[in-house]
């Protein structure tokens, strides 16, 4: 059999499609495996009860609350800073050495492993600032971690707003700040929203950094200074220490379902944004 371009083309197509199919296969398998074993244990009681005997029985209510607190607070801190940075980079300055430095900072921050964030959060927020293992320490650490995501997506969204919108706004006599808040940010909102939703997803899945900063207390956090175990960490502890496989799978299912919902939301927002820009 001679090696003709047409045959190589066919062989290449087969190999490449197989690779793509393998990747999708892994995804389907991971999601399917956890859901198949977890959904049967996922009851209303599981979501609304506190764990008993170290999580062997009972539910995950404190972890859900803890995850919501840590994630919500982290995004609440990171979103204004991230969007503010993006506004500064796009509307308030010209490209130069300063923007290069700001971008370098964001790019490097994006590449730092979560365990380093954990170490830093532990020595800085937990010990130096005296916040202890707490929701607040965890949230501050995660806020730093998701900041680059929010900066980058917001910047892209703001840059995609047509020049004409700005010109018209100026033409109507608005100040720069009015133009930014009433025109640019409003039309970039779905794009910015995508970034924020992705940041929520990253915070929910994070384990290493929250383990060192928010701790692993089983109780319901009463304030931001209480230690709290997040869902991802609970899943890790349950499965690694073999406390209860049924509860581990159910916890995993809640995690997977929330990540899927978050990704769908991000995708939907993005489509809306693209449809609007076109």
């Amino acid at each position: 059999m001679r090696i003709t371009p047409a045959r190589t083309q066919r062989a290449a197509a087969i190999v490449l499609w197989t690779l793509a199919a393998c990747t999708i296969g892994v995804l389907v398998f991971v999601v399917g495996f956890i859901l198949a074993r977890g959904l049967p244990h996922l009851t209303w009681g599981f979501l609304t009860e506190s764990p008993r005997s170290m999580g062997r029985e009972g539910g995950v209510l404190p972890m859900i609350v803890g995850t919501l607190w840590v994630t919500g607070l982290a995004v609440l801190i990171a979103a204004p800073i991230g969007v503010g940075t993006a506004v500064y980079l796009t509307e308030y300055t010209r490209e130069g050495r300063l923007t290069a430095v700001i971008r370098f900072g964001a790019d490097c921050l994006a590449g730092i492993p979560s365990i380093i964030f954990g170490l830093f959060g532990f020595v800085f927020f937990v010990i130096t600032l005296g916040l202890g293992l707490s929701v607040l320490s965890g949230a501050l650490t995660l806020a730093l971690m998701v900041l680059p995501t929010i900066i980058r997506t917001s910047e892209e969204a703001i840059r995609a707003v047509p020049r004409a919108y700005r010109d018209v706004s100026y033409g109507l006599g608005s100040t720069r700040w009015q133009m930014v808040t009433k025109v640019v940010l409003r039309s970039a909102l779905p794009g910015i929203g995508t970034g924020i939703v992705l940041a929520v997803g990253r915070s929910i899945s994070e384990t290493a950094a929250v383990m060192l900063t928010a701790g692993s207390a089983l109780g319901l956090p009463q304030s931001v200074f209480d230690s709290s175990r997040t869902m991802a960490l609970h899943f890790y502890i349950m499965s690694r220490e073999g406390i209860s496989m049924a509860n581990a799978y159910a916890t995993g299912s809640v995690l997977i379902l929330s990540i899927m919902a978050i990704n769908l939301a991000a995708y939907w927002l993005m489509r809306r944004f693209v449809a609007k820009a076109a």
Binding site: T8, P113, F120, F124, T175, F235
Partner: protein, 286 residues
């Protein structure tokens, strides 16, 4: 106008938070970690294989070797799968299917690393133990789990690089009678190669830095691995495993492990930035 000036200054202050965050992180990690490195000497720290924190012996060579081995393995799998997906998405796939495949790969990035680790330890590890031998918890298992985890990074950056190649390149090649695959590997991959290189380097950074999944499937022994089936401990898992109970010099040694990890990541990031900047320059974008 005065108001505009104030807003501008406030926004500048906000915009400096990322770089100042980076500076504070660097300062604190080094402040905590450097004393131990100067105490045992950089050579003694990274070239010794004796990690006995109780006796004050801190040598992290096995962890460095472990991280490198696991990362190399992960990149073989991650680069092949990730680049394959990127080529399919940009060159071979009808747009309607792209609308399904791309979100799937993004979902792969969203799944928590503990879930990957868990699947690894419940399925992959017993499989390796039963069919290939060894304890199952191994370099191989870690490489496969990490390889899958870096696919989204490699794919999304490679897709951007391939999409940035001017349409005329592809059309020109097809018009000259080249097949789709010839066009892909002779024109597209060549034109996008610095972007693809950046994608692989950033993927490498993710693999080196991943913690929880590796802890679950690597076995975490203190000895450097001799084969793919040997258990292994990485720099990241060394920190996460012992941080819970470490104190004094032991804790400082874990921070020092963080310093080494930090340096490795910064080198990889800088290379990736330099490579992708060169691409931006070449494509004529400012």
């Amino acid at each position: 106008m005065k108001q505009d000036r104030v807003i501008s200054l406030v926004l500048l202050a906000v915009a400096m938070s990322a770089i100042s965050g980076l500076a504070v992180i660097t300062a604190f990690i080094f402040k905590e970690g450097l004393p131990i490195i100067t105490k045992v000497g950089l050579g003694g720290f990274i070239l010794s294989s004796d990690w006995y924190p109780q006796e004050g012996e801190f040598g992290i060579l096995p962890m460095i070797v472990g991280s490198l081995a696991v990362t190399a393995g992960a990149m073989i799998i991650g680069a092949v799968l990730g680049l394959g997906c990127a080529i399919v998405l940009t060159q071979f796939c009808p747009p309607r299917l792209v609308a399904v495949l791309k979100p799937c790969i993004e979902l792969l990035a969203g799944i928590p690393s503990v879930v990957y680790g868990f699947i690894g330890v419940t399925i992959l590890v017993p499989f390796i133990r039963d069919h290939l031998g060894g304890p199952g918890l191994s370099v191989l298992a870690s490489s496969i789990v990490l390889g899958v985890m870096v696919v989204p990074t490699v794919t999304s950056i490679s897709v951007d690089a391939l999409r940035a190649v001017p349409r005329s390149y592809r059309e020109g090649s097809l018009a000259l009678g080249a097949t789709g695959w010839q066009t892909t590997h002779m024109v597209m991959l060549k034109a996008a190669r610095s972007g693809i290189a950046a994608a692989i380097i950033l993927g490498m950074g993710r693999a080196v830095g991943e913690t929880m999944a590796v802890i679950m499937v690597a076995g975490n022994t203190l000895e450097a691995p001799h084969s793919l089936l040997d258990p292994v401990r990485t720099l990241t898992s060394n920190i996460a495993l012992e941080m819970g109970y470490a104190a004094g010099d032991h804790r400082r040694a874990l921070f020092a492990t963080g310093v080494i990890l930090f340096v490795i990541i910064m080198i990889l990031n800088t290379i990736a930035l330099a490579v992708s900047r060169r691409r931006a320059g070449k494509a004529g974008r400012a």
